[in-house]
Symmetry: C2
Subunit: 198 residues, 2 copies
């Protein structure tokens, strides 16, 4: 509809999730009127992400170095590991300020229809951690939806054989069928403090 | 919250209009999983817009060359000029397929409280076109809100002195207090065909 570069930018912005044609147009004209330095910062951020983001070799979370800040922090209890689906779930749990242990990011949840089985998740890495570290409790904090529940059930069966290990699941309080990342801090905090053995 | 480049990208995306923290996070993780070529196209589009977009020297619309496609199109009636606030309003009127004349983009509407007076708009350029071209009708298609109405009233007074010129305003049918760009094609088309002399 527009000529040249403006339409190209609107098209590219419109491909992003949750950005419709009107939003894309609005953002494009905002950038058209923005300072070159403002656009530059967005370009730099894109370039860095394009060049590849590092993931923590221990927990699988987004990281600036080989090992993330949480895994490096000796004040965090290494004997309690909270297993989540995605890096954004780590941020959600951190916001509650209720958790002082470490994390393990699976990289998704079991979803056979989309071809995501145990081998597509970081489950082997979790079992390796079980062998290497002195983990006393695993908190299963996958999403309270079908895939997340299936993943939790699968992990409970796998972890049953480890002697002296307690496996817990986030307490009810989270609305079922929802997404962990959209829970408010209070609800998520209560679910965390009220976790039960499974 | 996240480490390094991912948080930088989320921050930059969050500065864009209509992109909240959750959307910014969603877009960032989408780009994290995207093909480098997909990010590359977005980067290229940003770079071109950053280097500067050309505006048509006649009508002020976004343009690929010195003169835009509409102003260059000899099949378009140069004696009828539709005056709009922004380039996106040109797109909105074009979508109706009811208008075969040319455009004049003001670059905004009169808004003294924000420091936008007649000198901040392309009104001098409009008067220059009046002198140079054989314009028979000016359609005032500014937004049907306070600023747009004030701009239309101001232009009516300015254009009153041109002999043989008809000045029209988009017909009622547009909901008052709204934004021209959000009108549906049918309403905008009817408003255009039912325009009245002022």
């Amino acid at each position: 509809m527009y000529e040249g570069p403006v339409q190209d930018l609107i098209d590219e912005l419109g491909r992003l999730p949750g950005v419709g044609p009107k939003s894309a147009q609005r953002i494009a004209f905002h950038l058209l009127a923005a300072e070159p330095a403002d656009i530059g910062r967005l370009q730099d951020a894109l370039q860095k992400v394009r060049e590849g983001v590092q993931f923590c070799q221990i927990c699988g979370n987004v990281s600036e170095e080989q090992t993330c800040r949480i895994c490096k922090d000796s004040r965090r209890d290494a004997t309690v590991v909270c297993v989540v689906e995605e890096p954004k779930d780590v941020v959600a749990v951190e916001k509650t300020r209720e958790f002082k242990g470490r994390y393990h990011v699976l990289g998704g949840a079991l979803d056979p229809l989309s071809g995501i089985g145990p081998d597509q998740l970081r489950i082997r890495e979790l079992l390796a951690r079980m062998g290497a570290d002195d983990i006393k409790e695993i908190i299963l904090a996958t999403d309270p939806n079908t895939e997340g529940e299936a993943t939790a059930t699968y992990l409970v069966r796998l972890l049953r054989d480890f002697p002296g290990l307690t496996v817990t699941r986030l307490a009810s309080g989270l609305p079922m069928g929802g997404d962990l990342e959209f829970a408010d801090e209070l609800t998520l905090g209560r679910a965390l403090s009220g976790r039960r053995t499974v």
